[in-house]
């Protein structure tokens, strides 16, 4: 059953590549604008050979990961307080709600103005983009915590601080995990967006540099990698999520 499904997935991907290759060879698809899979594979082999491919994957992955961690840790912390402490909610929620709809990419010019070029503006953009969905999910999850869980815990002698991590956090965890998954998707988008606007490494940079030299085969290597890596990361995260909220 399981083996069968893996086989079908591979068959689906193979069929897609074969059709694409056939389209290119018969001239149905312009090889200049959309290079055939065999050309893309060649280009990938070249990039692996000179070491740039793994360097690009490393830098994009590192930026996405660090941005994801900073943004989501901060978001969970703030969300726990805005969800549970009325004073903090009244103080922060309106500000966050107004900042939240601003698309992450809209901050890029300001990020460059404030932090120049280099890693800091990229991490700023990614963390900021990740922050809002994770904050909202935490905030809502905490607010929706059944009051009886809190009351039951208080009757079992829990103090305020213990309530936070023994009741409120686990009660909100299913919602937080959903927010983290959205945050991860946003981190993926923003790392490429940030790299497209100025970087000397990363998959976004690979695409924009190859564009300047009209190396469409290399551009497609970048796109294909984003697709495959994105799918793998999302799959990995869904496994992690199932383990984290195993009771749900």
């Amino acid at each position: 059953m399981r083996v069968g499904r893996v086989f079908l997935s591979l068959a689906s991907l193979t069929l897609f590549c074969v059709a694409w290759e056939a389209g290119s060879r018969t001239g149905l698809i312009s090889n200049r604008l959309i290079p055939a899979p065999s050309h893309v594979a060649e280009a990938a082999w070249e990039l692996i050979g000179d070491g740039t491919l793994f360097r690009d994957i490393y830098w994009s992955g590192r930026r996405a990961l660090v941005g994801m961690l900073t943004g989501s840790l901060l978001a969970i912390l703030v969300g726990l307080f805005t969800g549970r402490v009325l004073f903090v909610r009244l103080l922060l929620e309106p500000v966050i709600q107004v900042l939240r709809p601003i698309p992450g990419i809209a901050w890029i010019p300001f990020a460059i103005l404030w932090f120049g070029v280099g890693e800091v503006p990229k991490l700023f953009i990614i963390s900021l983009g990740v922050f809002f969905p994770v904050w909202l999910a935490t905030h809502v999850g905490v607010m929706a915590t059944r009051s009886q869980y809190v009351e039951a815990a208080q009757s079992l002698g829990l103090g305020k601080r213990e309530l936070f991590y023994r009741v409120v956090l686990p009660a909100a965890l299913p919602s937080i995990v959903t927010g983290l998954r959205q945050g991860l998707a946003i981190a993926f988008i923003l790392v490429v967006a940030a790299e497209l606007t100025g970087a000397s490494s990363g998959l976004g940079n690979l695409i924009s540099q190859s564009h300047l030299t009209f190396r469409t085969d290399r551009m497609l290597v970048g796109l294909a990698l984003l697709g495959v890596l994105g799918a793998l990361v999302d799959f990995g995260f869904s496994r992690l999520a199932r383990w984290l909220v195993h009771w749900d």
Partner: protein
């Protein structure tokens, strides 16, 4: 101060002139000057029509709501908020869904029993007492309603609270399960010297569980009658077969019906 039983033993739980209202519009006056006392080892049932404020009395004793006037004392000390001296069992069980049966029962024991081995032993003994052997590592969602409520009762009783508060704990269960649970509870609390305050609208249940029945009026809830349960412990569903049962129940029913009409 005499207990609800009319005995002179010092009360474990004492409620004096308790009045409660809620800040809705218009303001709801829920409870009006309720006083009662529960002796050690005694179970008092608060009985009354729905919406009469009996749950509010219980929640004030638990420390979840602050009364407008009056006070609650446990062993002579005034209650100022929730605390581990008063265990609580809710109608909807309120088990922590992220913990297993054992971890739920263990939840309130960490401060009381720092030693892990001893704590585990106590948890296991409670799992046996509520007849859930083999379900130690099950999660609440895998259990039936009756099983979940047994876990909740074990969780509340394991820390050996001075007072056990039960808010219509069997209201969500089917009739047969309810009777079995009432009988099991009877057994569990007869071992303890704590006081039990049990809220229900079910007269049959009150006569199995309660040593004393306090009947409340409709809102704003006042105490209108206190009845000593004529059936002696240990009580089970067999009291229903007793020839006195019908008249006793009918008399209580008349008192409550006057409040509904």
């Amino acid at each position: 101060m005499a207990g609800a039983l009319g005995l002179t033993t010092p009360a474990k739980l004492e409620i004096r002139d308790l009045s409660i209202s809620f800040a809705s519009t218009p303001r709801v006056h829920a409870v009006d000057k309720v006083s009662l006392a529960v002796a050690p080892g005694e179970t008092v049932c608060l009985l009354g029509p729905s919406g009469c404020g009996k749950s509010s009395v219980l929640r004030a004793v638990a420390g979840f709501i602050t009364p407008d006037a009056g006070e609650v004392r446990v062993d002579g000390r005034v209650v100022r908020g929730p605390g581990a001296d008063r265990g609580m069992v809710f109608q909807e069980y309120a088990l922590f869904p992220w913990h297993t049966v054992s971890r739920n029962i263990e939840f309130g024991l960490h401060k009381r029993i720092p030693d892990g081995e001893a704590r585990q032993a106590l948890v296991r003994s409670w799992i046996a007492k509520v007849k859930l052997g083999g379900f130690d590592h099950a999660y609440p969602r895998q259990l039936s309603g009756g099983m979940q409520q047994r876990v909740a009762i074990a969780r509340a009783l394991a820390p050996d609270p001075q007072v056990l508060l039960m808010d219509e704990p069997f209201g969500a269960l089917d009739a047969q399960t309810r009777v079995l649970m009432q009988e099991m509870l009877e057994g569990l609390i007869s071992e303890s010297r704590g006081a039990v305050l049990f809220v229900t609208h079910d007269i049959d249940e009150a006569l199995i569980v309660g040593d004393t029945l306090c009947i409340m009026s409709k809102r704003p809830g006042r105490l209108i009658e206190t009845i000593r349960n004529p059936f002696a412990r240990p009580r089970s569903a067999h009291i229903f077969e007793h020839s006195d049962y019908g008249p006793v129940k009918a008399r209580i029913f008349e008192t409550i019906r006057r409040e509904i009409d």
